[in-house]
Amino acid sequence: MKLDYLDQLESEAIHIMREVAGQFERPALLFSGGKDSITLVHLALKAFRPGKFPFPLVHIDTGHNFQEALDYRDAMAERIGEKLIVRYVEDTIREKKLKEPTGRNATRNGLQTFTLLDTIEEFEFDACIGGARRDEEKARAKERVFSVRDEFGSWDPKRQRPELWNLYNGRIHKGENVRVFPISNWTELDVWNYIRREKIQLPSIYFAHDRELLIRDGKLMATAGGVIKPEADDQRVTRRVRFRTVGDISCTAASESTAETLDAVIDEIQATRISERGETRMDDQLSEAAMEDRKKGGYF
């Protein structure tokens, strides 16, 4: 019997999720309504049904999310009958009197970390499952599947635990927690191929649609929700686009596209010469070590 690579990746991810269930007392699955975390939920269904998930779904809402992703999130939690916990960056800003970034390309993405750490503390989560992949970025390429964080959420790349075979060590001290990445070894294309194979429904913004946008620094930014404040040199346009990743509106760019089906989206992604984060994420382009620095500060 020879397993296809998608079967192997699926089996590995299910194994990792069950290790979380077996090794931790209060895990959580971070769920944003984006394609990677949707894939995680699908894998969790395969890992634990007909039982309930041994963890709630948790979303850290920046208040700048696409409505389509939020609607999808709520409908999904309802449909599968699992608990959804939402915590708002807005509340953290108010309660902790955080200074919100202002100016041209201001984003709340960095403030998410504060709310995430507070939420981990509030529910005493000892493990958070996330949909990060090693192919996304070069600091992520170095991270373990079980990534131990101190009480400040910091990742110390020089003190990673050895991780051998399929043996995961989730033993931690009180106050520490572990970020767990079951789809570490998946590429962007693997995720899309898996979504197609498993017939997983995605939010509509992943497919081509007409949308009002601003052209800023050569990128197509959504006007939805008034998150991005238009400036004099921004050009307002309506284009046929889809989103290759779905993150915070303030830092996620759209791609011009006519792909209305999964097949068409996959064809476009196979043909592209630009990486996922390079095309769509404004937050990684600040410096050569932007992601490494954010992870040291507790970012996912």
Partner: protein, 416 residues
């Protein structure tokens, strides 16, 4: 399409990063924005040439020092196969990171500088590949451009390496002469070495037979989690969730549970609530047994016709991975499969010099990155297979009880 995981160990000086860069570049796996980023970074250097090595080193300190410190994972695919590159450091002070990376690989590329031949580093990397049970070794004889693409140089190195391979337990060795810098025999065939009639590196990676490497005879299923919905309609549902780490199971098979020794038969095997007649490694499944047996996380279900070893005194090869010394009498937590128990160190039989393979007896303690044969006494019997026959059920880790850190990698040899 199948999946091959391979490791390449070394640092920038050895041409490892250039080799990976070349593999990605010539197989068109590098995207335009990634290339632009390294072009920008290359310009800040002296020569202005595109430095393919910059594609690989991910951490700030690695770029600053021009070395690889920790393992990075990279992905590419061709029309015939998908690849995971485990990009590991080569320096002796990062041996533990190389061991971490090697544990899951089916193939290792050992880089040899054609000017220097089989060197200390070649010997060390080959030893680790062999200890970790990697079945396929590619000896990449690199920098052939610096020895005038000489066939004699290549042949000498092959003869030399074959002697070394005899001392190690390496099954399949392939030799490829190349220049990663110029792209000879990496993806494209070299015009400078017409005397070489073998495959290029990529051709070899695409065609090397890996299905035979799976252990299909020892059926092992470590239980990770018990699924019990306890709803009115599924009141009696009790499914054992886990991954088949080796072998295959069929409905109706007689099974034995370790460590209890209880027996039963398989009533059903499921994936995502769909029943299967049979299942094999590396599938993650849910198993149901015909009778009520007390089973929980940490137990090992095996097919009764192929039983593992079960013992409280075990012999193992150890790679020590912590800055605190490993000493006789010390206590640790040992994890094999999903089973954990405490253990104490009975004996350090000998330490292995990783460069000369010499066995050093009378060693009292081990330091970071040391390799040794050891004997451990466990609080409860552990069930395992010798690592040489089964990597999945013969690999174990040691965990420090106070720091919780993984401090050792064990390749279990047998009962002591």
């Amino acid at each position: 399409m199948d999946l091959l995981r391979f490791i390449t160990a070394g640092s920038v000086d050895d041409g490892k990063s250039t080799l990976i860069g070349r593999l990605l570049y010539d197989s068109k796996s590098i995207l335009a924005d990634q290339l632009e980023a390294i072009e920008r970074a290359s310009k800040s250097r002296d020569d202005g040439e595109i430095d393919l090595a910059l594609l690989t080193d991910g951490l700030r300190s690695e770029r600053e020092q021009g070395i690889t410190i920790d393992v990075a994972y990279r992905y590419f695919q061709t029309p015939v196969r998908k690849f995971i590159i485990v990009d590991a450091p080569g320096h002796i002070q990062y041996t533990r990171n190389m061991v971490t990376g090697a544990s899951n690989c089916q193939l290792a590329i050992v880089l040899v500088d054609a000017r220097h031949g089989v060197a200390e580093q070649t010997r060390r990397h080959s030893l680790i590949a062999s200890l970790l049970g990697i079945p396929h070794i590619v000896v990449a004889i690199n920098k052939m451009d610096l020895v005038d693409y000489s066939q004699d140089v290549f042949s000498d190195i092959c003869i030399h390496y074959a002697e070394l391979a005899q001392k190690l337990n390496v099954k399949h060795v392939t030799y490829i002469p190349m220049s990663a810098l110029n792209g000879d025999n990496v993806v494209d065939r070299s015009e400078s070495m017409p005397w070489y009639e073998g495959q290029t590196l990529l051709e070899h990676l695409e065609t090397v037979e890996i299905a035979d490497d799976l252990n299909l005879t020892q059926a092992r299923f470590p239980v990770q989690y018990v699924i019990r919905p306890q709803t009115p309609e599924l009141h009696d549902y009790r499914g054992y969730a886990g991954k088949i780490t080796s072998g295959q199971f069929r409905k109706g098979d007689a099974i034995t549970v370790f460590p209890s020794g209880e027996t039963s038969t398989i009533d059903a095997i499921e994936i995502a609530e769909t029943e299967l007649e049979e299942a094999a490694t590396p599938m993650s499944v849910v198993m149901h047994l015909a009778t009520d047996v007390d089973i929980s996380r940490g137990d090992l279900i095996v097919r009764s016709d192929s039983q593992p070893l079960s013992s409280q005194t075990v012999e193992a090869m150890l790679c020590w991975m912590d800055s605190k010394e490993f000493k006789v009498g010390n206590k640790y937590v040992l994890q094999v499969g999903t089973f954990r128990t405490r253990c104490s160190v009975r004996e350090i039989t000998y330490q292995v010099n990783v460069n000369t393979y010499e066995q050093i007896e009378g060693v009292q303690q081990l330091r970071l990155n040391d390799l040794a044969k050891v004997i451990l006494r466990t609080a409860q019997p552990i069930s395992f297979d010798p690592y040489g026959t089964n990597r999945a059920s013969g690999g174990a880790i040691l965990i420090d009880e106070t720091s919780n850190v993984t401090v050792g990698a064990l390749m279990l040899v047998g009962e002591a």
